[in-house]
Amino acid sequence: MTRKVVITGLGATTPIGGDVPTMWRNALKGVSGARTLEDDWVSKYELPVHFAARCSTPALEVLGRVEAKRMDPSTQFGVIASREAWADSGITEIDHDRLAVAFATGIGGVWTLLDAWDTLKEKGPRRVLPMTVPMLMPNGVAAAVSLDLGARAGAHTPVSACASGTEALHLGLDMIRSGKADVVMCGGAEAAIHPMPLAAFASMQALSRRNDDPQGASRPYDRDRDGFVMGEGAGALVLEAEEHALARGARIYGELAGTSVTADAYHITAPDPAGLGATRALKAAMFDGRIQAEDVVHVNAHATSTPVGDKPEYTALRAALGTHIDHVAVSATKSQMGHLLGASGAVEAVLTVLAVYERKAPVTINLENQDPEIPLDVVTSARDLPAGNIVALSNSFGFGGHNAVIAVRSI
C-alpha cells in the first residue's frame, strides 16, 4: 500500500505578495509585480532589459539583520517562505530524524558569488569573506532551512533550472512514500535579479524587451509575447504522510497525488517542438496519481511568455488530456509575477494547492489577442472550480530539457 501524502502548510514570498494570503488575494485579482529597475547598474552596463519583478516585501523587513548577513538573498527568501509554511502547518512536536528538506534553486547564490568576485578584484583576497562559500553554494538554501527547522532526515537540493521547484516536490513525495521521512519541507528559492544573469538571459533572447510597459511585458499565450520577465522569491510546502497529519488533527489542503520528472534529450535550451518530453511527464504524473483526464479541472501552466515555449506545452497538454483539455481552466500565473526560475515551480505549486482547496483558479493577465495556435481555455478573471473530487496539474520545464509535473487532488 503506497503511503498517501498530503499538503499541510504553505509559504511564499513573491513579487505579488510577501506571504501566502497576500499573494493569493492578488493572484485572484490579477496584478503585475513587474517594475522598472531603478538601480544604477541598468544604465551603467547598458542592459537591454530595464525591468523585473522584485519581491514585494524586501527580505530585510522580515529577517533579523544578523541572520540575513549570513544568507545569500536566495536563501533569505527560502527561509522566509519555509518559516511561513512551517507555522501554517501547525506542527509543534516532531521527530526531527523523520523531518527532511527538499529545497530547490535554479542558480544558487549568484549575488554572493559575483559580489565576492568584485571584492577580490577591487580589494584583494583578504576581503573575500569566510561566509562566501556556504552562501554561494546551491545547497545553501536547503542547508539553511534544515538548520532552521532541525530537519535531520536529509536536506536535498534538486537543480534542474526552471523545473527545480517542481522537482523538489517530486523528491519530497518519493521520500515520504519510500519511508525515508514522515514530513518534508519542500520548496524553491531564487534571487537572480542581478545585471549578469539579466544580461545573459537577454543575450539568449529569452527576456521581454517591453521596457516602456513592464507590467504588460509578461503575456503568456498572447500573440505579441516576446519573452519572460525575470522574477524572484520563494515558495514552500509542507508535505506530510497522511497518517501523520491525521494523527495530529492537521488542516489538510489537498493530496499530492502524483508527480513525475522526464528529460527531453532534444536540445540544451529549446523545448522539443512536439512536446514529447512534456507529454510523457504529464502522462507519468497522472499514472502515478491514478488520475483520469476527466478528473483534471485546472492546470497551472509553465507558460513563461516566450515565443517558442508556450506552444509545445499546449501540444503536450492536448496529447496527455485529449479533447478534455478544452474543458480545463488554464492559468498562467507568470503573467503576474514573472518567472521565478528555480522557485517558480514551488510558488506555482502553492497556487495550485490553493486553487484546489479554495476551488478558485487564479488569473492570467495581459492576454489581449490569444495566439490562435494555442486555443486553451485561459482564465482571465478569477473563476470557480467545480465541487466534488477534483485534480489540478502544475507543469514546469527547464533549460536542459527538464520536465516536471505535479498533480494535486482535493481531499
Partner: protein, 81 residues
C-alpha cells in the same frame, strides 16, 4: 593612533555588526569563543573588518592567539605602534 579604549569601542561595534551582540557585552576579559559564542567564520570576518577599520594586518597564524577581546585590543594597539 587609537587608544585602547577607542580600539575596544571600535571592536565592539564590529562584533555587534557581525553577531548582534550588544556592544557593552564586548569587554576586555571576555573570550570570543567561550563567552561571546563567536564561531571561527564570524571570527575571521571580525578580524578582516578590524584590519580595515584600524589599518593593521592580523596574520592568520596570529588569530588563534587572540582568545579574549583584550588580546585583540593589545595586538591591534601593538600593530599600530
Amino acid at each position: 593612533m587609537a587608544s585602547n579604549e577607542e580600539i575596544l569601542a571600535g571592536l565592539a561595534e564590529i562584533v555587534n555588526e557581525e553577531t548582534g551582540l550588544a556592544p557593552e557585552a564586548v569587554e576586555s576579559d571576555k573570550s570570543f569563543t567561550e563567552d561571546l559564542d563567536i564561531d571561527s567564520i564570524s571570527m575571521m570576518t571580525i578580524v578582516v573588518n578590524a584590519e580595515e577599520k584600524f589599518g593593521v594586518r592580523i596574520p592568520d597564524e596570529e588569530v588563534k592567539n587572540l582568545k579574549t577581546v583584550g588580546d585583540a585590543v593589545s595586538f591591534i594597539a601593538g600593530a599600530q605602534a
